[in-house]
């Protein structure tokens, strides 16, 4: 095991001061709602894991937007997640292996880390016609899920497709797509969102590394630290709602004044997520800040339930 001192020296070699590192740990613990006494422990977890926790990341019916969101991570950077924090044994977008070698790698990883790996799933699973509407290398998503998932220590669904079915499962759903938990009859940790904020995924993984268990979940499998409150309850425009000051048309004077978007279809009151406080892309913005009503992307079946968008419910 690397000593703490050696670790900080290595960090500094990479241009990260001890102060920067502690700042990052504080940010993560604060984001996760942990008390500051956990800070040294976060640092220990990242300092020198004897073995990086193995992750098998499966892609099913999806658009890869959740992976894209994850690689925008800045605390930690994605190269740190891949090289120093996690052991991402299989991930179709970022892995170098292809074709038969990629398939082989999946089997090797499952065998090597049986019962010990975290299975992350992005995408829904086709179930109609024996799962025929979704295949990789000739095998259906359904077959792959049944092969891999029972051997995992835990399953994290990254995004609304794997969590709830989402857009692949939207009407008329020709492939019979469903979320992973429903198909496999298991409980999964659901990092909901289309795509979810990378912070919500990273924070959940840190919880696992830190406490050796998954965080508290709501009745839809979403971590409470991230999905415990509605957008509406945390919205900086909430006062305008109370004062009945509404935007009724985009580009209007009211829009320029930042009034409440409820009447142009905001689903903030029905939607549980931390967007107003975590924001996206290193805190740059979030939809309502950009004048766009929340479309409720972290709620099950939002595509069918909340459309037509831009109209008051």
């Amino acid at each position: 095991m690397e000593t703490e001192k050696a670790f900080y020296e290595r960090l500094e070699g990479k241009g990260v001061s001890r102060r920067d590192f502690m700042k990052f740990c504080t940010f993560l613990t604060a984001t996760m709602g942990l008390s500051s006494s956990f800070v040294p422990k976060v640092a220990e977890v990242f300092a020198a894991p004897a073995q990086r926790p193995p992750v098998i990341y499966l892609h099913f019916g999806e658009c890869t937007g959740c992976t894209e969101a994850l690689i925008r991570s800045m605390y930690p950077w994605i190269d740190e997640l891949v090289l120093e924090i996690l052991d991402i044994e299989y991930h179709e977008t970022i892995m170098a292996a292809a074709g038969q070698q990629a398939e082989e790698q999946l089997q090797n990883a499952v065998n090597k880390y049986k019962g010990k790996f975290i299975c992350v799933v992005e995408g829904a699973i086709a179930t109609k016609f024996d799962g025929a509407y979704g295949k990789i290398g000739g095998r259906t998503f359904l077959e792959i899920a049944k092969d891999v998932i029972p051997h995992a220590a835990g399953v994290i669904c990254n995004g609304s497709c794997s969590s709830f079915g989402n857009i692949p499962a939207a009407k008329p759903n020709p492939g019979g797509y469903k979320g992973v938990g429903e198909v496999m009859g298991i409980k999964t940790v659901n990092i909901a969102g289309c795509p979810p904020n990378g912070i919500n995924f990273v924070g959940t993984v840190v919880n696992y590394l830190l406490l050796g268990k998954l965080p508290a979940l709501d009745n839809l499998g979403r971590p409470v630290w991230a999905y415990g409150k509605t957008i509406h309850d945390q919205c900086p425009r909430r006062a305008h709602f109370e004062n009945e000051e509404f935007v009724e048309q985009f580009g209007s004077e009211e829009a320029a004044m930042g009034y409440c978007l409820y009447k142009v279809g905001c689903r903030g009151p029905e939607t549980y997520n931390n967007c107003p406080v975590a924001k996206f892309n290193d805190g740059t913005s979030w939809p309502i800040e950009a004048g766009a009503p929340c479309i409720g992307c972290s709620e099950p079946a939002f595509w069918d339930k909340f459309t037509p968008f831009y109209e008051e419910l």
Partner: protein, 454 residues
Amino acid sequence: MGAQFQHDHIVHFYHLHALDWVDVVSALAADPKKTAALADNVSNAPWGGTVYFKNVQQRLKTFVDSGQLGPFSNAYWGHSAYKLPPEANLMAAAHYIEALRLQAKAARMHAIFGGKNPHPQSLVVGGVTCVRDLRPDRIAEFLYITKETQDFITNVYIPDLLAVASFYKDWGAIGGTSNFLAWGEFPESDQEPESLYMPRGVIMKRNLGGVKMADQARVAEDVTRGWYEKGPARHPYEGETKPLQENPKYRPGDGQYTWFKAPRYDGEPCEVGPLTRVLVAYARGHKDIKPIVDNVLKTLDVDANALFSTLGRTAARGIEAVAIGQRMQGWVMELVANLKAGDTQTYEPYEMPNSGMGVGLNDVPRGSLGHWVQIEDKKIKNYQYVVPSTWNLGPRDANGKMGPVEESLIGTPVADPKKPLEVLRTVHSFDPCIACGVHVIDPDSNEVYKIKAL
């Protein structure tokens, strides 16, 4: 949109394509001092020096020594088709990591006016919702990020591209196709397509001199070889999407073998994407694109025929990243001029018609994208889109004509059929997005091998 091009092309080159040319494991054998000298010679990267490369190498070594190779497991390392010396591999590996961080920053441009990236949310029918972000501080933030990204493109991406390409010049004669279709992008006035910065056009049989204006009425989609109910080739306005109600069988010989339809222009398959856009611009004597293309050809000491290739496709991506990125600052300053003149309009109210038809033609980083809609009773009656990967990866048609990727793979030399690295190079050079064209089989998976085995 410009920010999207800057971002996507960097991610494609470094993270989705580079490992087809760069052997990361070989980087462990590099001499950091020689690597620093090489980098000083070919690159203007802001990072470098012996200590820097030593640290990167140590980081890779620690990673490899851990025995947990993660996403680098079971790849084609040591394959005879890798040609870079260890020092060039180490330089490229270092920039692979830098690019990972840079792309996260570059994505902030979208978040400033779109709320988040990916899937920005401020675009609505009639305009954009981000009226409150048209502030000097937001615009300045955007300008500085686009500048930082452009510095990376000109000082790191392009030098790396040229350095890597100089070892793979034989790829200037492999992986080409015949026909090219660009809808074009970046209107600079209300005159469209005339004012498009990346022009609209179609080139048949590699005849650059015969470049013509493209017309959406000439598009049709053929479903002969796709897993859809049989029917004639149809224009997208009349298009149908009726997937087979069964477990579809893979019959590449003479039957159906894909979820892709086969889009055709005047009955011909067409390549879309950066190479197409650059060829159309080059053929039209584009004032910014032509000199960059000529300069790249001169630097690599190859002629214009080399553009019709895997190497040409990968080079074209860098060429247009330079041109579009340079143009972006001007577009932002136009916005500033509008604000100065008091023009803050971001939205045009509209009334949904009872019935109507509409088409939207764009060029996105991966290529030509068309949307066709029919409206009846104020609702969508039919909606069809033909996305870039459908053009490029679509199958054969009723006349047996191959799609562009199939055509491009013919004649590819493969040193070891069990490890078809060479096939990956060409397929990846198209920047395939299978998810956009309905799931077939992942491009990083078995399908590549099967295409090769045909």
